[in-house]
Symmetry: C2
Subunit: 308 residues, 2 copies
């Protein structure tokens, strides 16, 4: 019943000994998601002891290699391990042909179905919804069509106060309405206030993933009020010009989006391999937005613990 984000790869285009290319593993109430899948992501799953067969949906932000070259290997391994459960992959319309091509030359008859869903790049789009959460894609500004992703829990139900409902002799039929925050009128005319029989709902949490993108102010509105925000910080401000020409962001720009979005916490990542570590990025971001963290491969963020 948690909501966790684990960094599988915090590096940029060139992998280093310390940082694999982009990949993040999300778990929300027994739903398991993968965002981006750079080369070696399946090895990161093993390294951090994450069960790759649990993944049901994969979200690919864009078709630069450091965000999807691990997909054929991950899918092959799922197949070789005998997976039968379907897999859904959200990505650019060109992705399906490429990935199917890579798999088909191997001559395997896949043991499971893969469904590809084409992303849209013009405006925020609801791409998945169930009773627990909504998943949105939203356009970023990079050299090729790129989407960020936002995971928003739906409002949660009030939690029954077991002792109170037992003492009042309430029935199962009442529970459903109390959980929705409705007051109850008993058959004898007695009115019951739901607040006397419930605890407040746990907060509905949210996470947004923004990689890769140049700085643009409106992004802060799109990810407004997410609890946890991941934003790429390929460069530090000293390389602002390079960030502009490559359509990437500096740590300072990431922190400005965090500040304007009113997020509670910023994760920086996608660090260029030219930096030995992310100390400068972190310093720069913290000067604008205090609650900043520099991603390292393997880091786990437990939103329920941090923001409830």
């Amino acid at each position: 019943v948690g909501f966790t984000v684990q960094i599988l790869g915090s590096g940029a285009a060139l992998p280093t000994g310390q940082r694999a290319p982009s990949a993040q593993y999300l778990q929300c109430e027994n739903r398991h998601f993968l965002i981006d899948c750079g080369e070696g992501t399946q090895m990161q799953f093993r390294r951090f002891n994450v069960k790759l067969q649990k993944i049901k949906q994969i979200f690919i932000s864009h078709l630069h290699g450091d965000h999807f070259f691990g997909l054929p290997g991950l899918i092959s391994t799922m197949h070789l391990l005998g997976r039968t459960q379907n897999l859904t992959i959200y990505g650019h319309p060109d992705l399906e042909k490429i990935i199917r091509g890579m798999l088909e030359v191997g001559g395997h008859k896949m043991t499971f179905e893969i469904q590809f869903v084409a992303l849209k790049y013009d405006s925020p789009t609801l791409i998945f919804e169930d009773k627990v959460l909504e998943i949105w894609s939203f356009p970023l500004k990079h050299r090729i069509p790129t989407c960020g992703f936002m995971f928003r829990e739906k409002p949660k139900e009030f939690q029954l106060d077991g002792e109170a409902v037992k003492e009042a002799g309430l029935l199962i039929e009442h529970f459903h309405r109390l959980k929705k925050g409705e007051d109850i009128e008993l058959e004898n005319g007695k009115k019951l206030n739901h607040q006397d029989f419930t605890f407040p709902p746990k907060p509905a949490l949210s996470y947004a993933y923004c990689s890769d993108t140049k700085y643009f102010e409106d992004l802060a509105n799109v990810v407004s009020n997410v609890d946890l925000l991941y934003h790429e910080a390929t460069f530090t401000e000293a390389m602002l010009e390079r960030a502009k020409t490559t359509f990437h962001s500096t740590a300072k720009q990431a922190a400005e989006i965090a500040l304007q979005s009113k997020t509670k916490m910023l994760i920086l990542g996608h660090f260029s391999s030219r930096y030995d570590d992310a100390r400068l990025h972190l310093e720069e971001a913290k000067s604008i937005f205090t609650n900043s963290v520099a991603a390292e491969d393997g880091m786990l963020f437990d939103l329920r613990k941090m923001f409830s």
Copy 2:
């Protein structure tokens, strides 16, 4: 001026924490080759401190993912590091379309040219030749078209005895003939035996790579008398039936090929991830062919030192 083979990946289809998928780095007299390129090969280059830009030719045995899924990432990294030197890739005719497709969606204008050369699967074929060595492909027997590769140095020249030629006052024009093992007649009619002015040539060495394949006796003739033989040993003899149905070999079968080929040393590899280590494989092979070694990622074989 060496001839070395380094194991970059000794695993089979499923990578493990200990074994990356297939890849080997060959270096022969300043020529740099890569055989197979499983996912994560570029990370193995970094891990073992091998300079990936030196690779000029890549040989892909077949189109199962554990032998080529690392190719797009390796090529992208070569590009991002500013490579200008051409690259030649030998593989199945379908490989070109797939790899170019993976690279083109990223929208990069590559900084260097890639030439694809289609392998033939019916008989041993000379696919490259220069003054130092010949490279041959030869058909293996796997579920899809598969080639092994053989690297054979050409006969080397006699080595001049510097003191002897100086003492006799010989000229550069004589050196060339002496190195070829020719005797010389001077203008004054004096006959000189080349053996008095040279040391014997260093031996011409050879290496053969056989992965993946089921056992077939004729393979020993194809790789006859190579100094060093790599042969896949996915299974041990206890899983002979599984080896047959998947078109793989057991360690015993690999050793039988080694014995029949009269190679000097056998490297076993491509171990199934179901084995914790390769002790059983090695024991099994050694009972038939004593000079057997089980590959581990990073192992380096220096043929010049071992066989000269």
